[in-house]
Symmetry: C2
Subunit: 405 residues, 2 copies
């Protein structure tokens, strides 16, 4: 009965990602927007650069006037003046003319190339050009960076430091973003004590509070810890009632059968629904997913490393969905396995690994450990996924490494 609603990893991901969510947005200044998710596509309202600019210090010319110019037979051009940076170019370049420009200066009308200063010589009232340039050389044309009306950033994109430059270029001072999800976190278990206490024999510190909270915050959510529940329906129910107004509820604990029963019974007592109980994964099998007051709720395994892995592999999917983060692309890397990785058929496994660059390329080494070891996570750079339809991976195979957030 216990794993009646047990599911495959793939089904679990589909169920989690299909959970109906109600996303809200707000408008914020671009200087505090880093890491937030765009709630509307950014359409360029301007052309960038707004005018053709010189990419070097030198002379704006007509390219055909300097064709074939070289050190021993330079082209002589009439110097019409200088266009200072930040100024409008009021000079017009006609055949045989040139004008001094700085890097970033507006390129004058009539000019179609800039010769670098190093390839010129100043002579009285004229400039000797000692090198040929092609049409467009050393010019960034108006609109060459961004054309007015184009979609520069997609709705659902998480804003990076470099995106900030695009907003600034376009003079966009405020942007609509999805609101940061508010997540309620509860730890449970008769064996768990707060880290401020010294555990008596048989008890251990509350590790999951800190790893889950840090992972989920790094994923872009706000976390409120609602406390430590004893293994009883009344205590768990009481804590769950405090969590009703949050966008998602996470309750860790329940690696033993009795503990899990308290969590599922409490959810059902409050009118919630258990969507699945148990995923065919390792570590993390005793994971519960359900709905309470219309919000998603995860029951996470009590084992610290299992709890952390389920948070990374499953909870963060929903943390991203709750932020409208539809453009997410995970950064992964490839490397060659330095050892066999046994696994069980029918179970998707997540062995933790280190990734090291060697003279012969990237090498991936499993950090073998019992699933309870929290130190194994600290030693690892990330994890690999062994599909449920295999009985392990072999030394020498190329595998994809998922980095820890």
């Amino acid at each position: 009965m216990e794993f009646l609603k047990s599911t495959t990893a793939k089904e679990a991901r589909q169920i989690i990602q299909a959970f109906p969510l109600n996303l809200k947005t707000e408008t914020i200044r671009i200087d505090v927007a880093q890491g937030r998710v765009l709630a509307e596509a950014l359409i360029a309202a301007d052309t960038i650069p707004p005018f053709s600019r010189s990419l070097v210090d030198g002379y704006a010319v007509k390219a055909k006037d300097v064709q074939g110019a070289k050190e021993t037979s330079p082209a002589f051009l009439n110097l019409k003046g200088e266009i200072r940076i930040g100024e409008e170019a009021l000079i017009t370049i006609s055949a045989g003319d040139c004008a001094y420009v700085s890097t970033g200066s507006m390129v004058p009308q009539g000019s179609d190339a800039v010769v670098m200063q190093e390839q010129t010589r100043r002579v009285p009232d004229a400039v000797e050009i000692t090198k040929t340039v092609f049409q467009g050389e050393n010019i960034c044309y108006a609109g060459e960076d961004i054309q007015k009306g184009t979609t520069v950033l997609q709705k659902g994109k998480r804003i990076t430091p470099l995106d900030a430059g695009v907003f600034a270029a376009l003079g966009v001072t405020s942007i609509p973003v999805f609101i940061k999800p508010k997540i309620a976190l509860i730890s449970s278990g008769d064996e768990i004590v707060s880290i401020d206490e010294t555990p008596s024999t048989g008890k251990v510190h509350d590790i999951n509070r800190y790893t889950v909270s840090a992972l989920v915050q790094e994923g872009g959510a706000q976390v409120t810890f609602l406390g430590l529940a004893r293994d009883s329906i009344s205590d768990i129910t009481e804590k769950l009632l405090l969590a009703q107004d949050y966008d998602m509820i996470l309750i860790s604990g329940g690696s033993s059968k009795g503990e899990r029963d308290f969590i599922t019974a409490s959810i059902e007592k409050l009118g919630g629904e258990i969507i699945f109980h148990g995923i065919n994964i390792k570590p993390g099998k005793p994971t519960i997913f359900g709905k309470l007051c219309g919000k998603p709720i995860f029951g996470l395994p009590g084992h610290p490393s299992s709890c952390a892995m389920v948070t990374v592999c499953f909870v963060l999917l929903l943390v991203r969905s709750l932020q409208g983060d539809t453009e997410y692309e995970e950064k992964t890397a490839e490397g060659v396995l330095t050892a066999n990785v046994p696994s069980s058929y029918g179970i998707e496994e997540y062995p933790r690994v280190t990734l090291k660059k060697t003279g012969e390329g990237y090498r991936v080494t499993p950090v073998f450990s019992k699933s309870a070891l929290i130190s194994s996570l600290v030693r690892a750079d990330g994890y690999i996924m062994v599909p449920e339809g295999t009985e392990g991976l072999e030394k020498g195979e190329t595998v994809e490494v998922h980095f820890f957030a």
Copy 2:
């Protein structure tokens, strides 16, 4: 004269990383320590787990009592009781005994293995064990995760979400970390206007303020923007005077010769020193590095994408040093180039690239663009480094991709 103190990329990195710094520390709670850098190694003051724990729900036994047990010839053991999770195990297991344990329960004295419940049958006053276990099976022994006295995290390590679990496991509530560096940021240039203004012809928005600020904040620093300086020694000097109490000064602007001269002259006027002026890199050649009031100062190129690349490749080195981040390991990935990448001999180049996983592995595609294009940075996943001693890379070569922060 202009590039008199021009240097190679390698020398620039060495000079930047050898800059003498005076690091300060503070003590903070572990729940706000994510992303901060440990100022002292973490030595385990406890043994984790503090007692031997069961990894499953089942029966604690002596392994030799169940040797050869199978479905058709089970071992019969006397049930001494149950050890509930969180309780001290007061039962002792003698030959022929067993005790019920939950996942996470303390394993009783005398027992050296746990049989999973699924491999047992309860009969009146006894338990039938239907499977052999090896010594230590399903037990996480005291100290198997962390031995008391071992160094668990090194001084200089940036704290990850998973490290938080180690602190919690050991009951460490507060830790010493390096203080977040305070960085002063100035934009300069007669062509630059604030993003709140509409630029007149010839002028452009201040892009660098936002990209540099976001990159450096993501690197772990606090940034204060001190304003926009005109291209004059008096204006730049005035802004630099405001920056004296910061741990590092960044001034962007100065892609043209005149602008660079204002910056170097202002630093020297205030008694500062120009350590190098110009790096043999592309983009980013007109980078200035110096010392002012004993603090490092960068003059960053005015071109937005050059400015961003120099921030990523050089400024962030010092942002990390200022945090005592000595254990930094960059996450990189390998892929195969889909196009030739030309480059100039004698210059280290940083072409921006995309990295895509295909059916044939990872493919790296250069985002060709003029260096002034800010949109090229948004389209790229990262960059590759073309060493100064080559004239480019060829399609089909395996290259290392550095991700944007």
